[in-house]
């Protein structure tokens, strides 16, 4: 349940770990085998293997088979999805400045009628 979260969540979870971010950065420069990816880290191979599994689970990487080697490949689409989510909120946030935040202004008035109304959205233009 908790584990089967949406892909976006899984992507952020994957990127939350510094080791995995380093792996992603490495793979951005080109495909690599597990041993190559493990080289820079002071970590056992199974540890790296687990990290790769996390990256694979959210679709950030794919793995093919070549003899004993399992070269890893970065999939940019998933990265794009995460970027999209952030940029969209970033954009909304920017646009917000155009129409001054009335919700908070109301809070600042002495008349405090600001109870727990749903007020999902602030009614800006009036």
């Amino acid at each position: 349940m908790t584990m089967l979260e949406d892909r976006l969540g899984a992507t952020f979870i994957a990127l939350a770990d510094p080791t995995r971010r380093a792996i992603v950065a490495r793979l951005a420069a080109g495909d690599a085998t597990v041993n190559e990816l493990a080289a820079p880290f002071d970590m056992t191979l199974p540890g790296i293997s687990k990290h790769l599994k996390v990256l694979e689970r959210c679709g950030l990487i794919t793995r093919t088979r070549h003899a004993q080697f399992r070269p890893c490949h970065l999939e940019a689409d998933v990265l794009d999805s995460a970027i999209d989510w952030m940029q969209q909120n970033r954009r909304i946030w920017s646009e917000r400045f155009d129409k001054l935040d009335s919700r908070l202004r109301e809070l600042q008035r002495p008349t405090n009628d600001v109870s727990q109304k749903p007020a999902r959205q602030r009614k800006s233009h009036e």
Copy 2:
């Protein structure tokens, strides 16, 4: 140590949770009080309070005080940092296509010349 990770990691951790992403999305549309943020969720107020603390820890939100209210404010800079990291790797990944991946091609040759580095695997048994 593990807990005091870098800000980038903390940001991704913060965005990994769906509740916190929803809170961020809500705050992108305008500042809000804790009760307002809590309203859409089937969760107790302390739960929301914890989530806000996580968002605050990585700098994604700031909180001021106004009477009994603690309006939350989204800080876009931190969002930008995370976007930047992703886009940079995304860009490197794109550029990689210009110069065909030679590393993997080498793997695909019959000559097994792949391990340029001695694997630093821990051998438990000599």
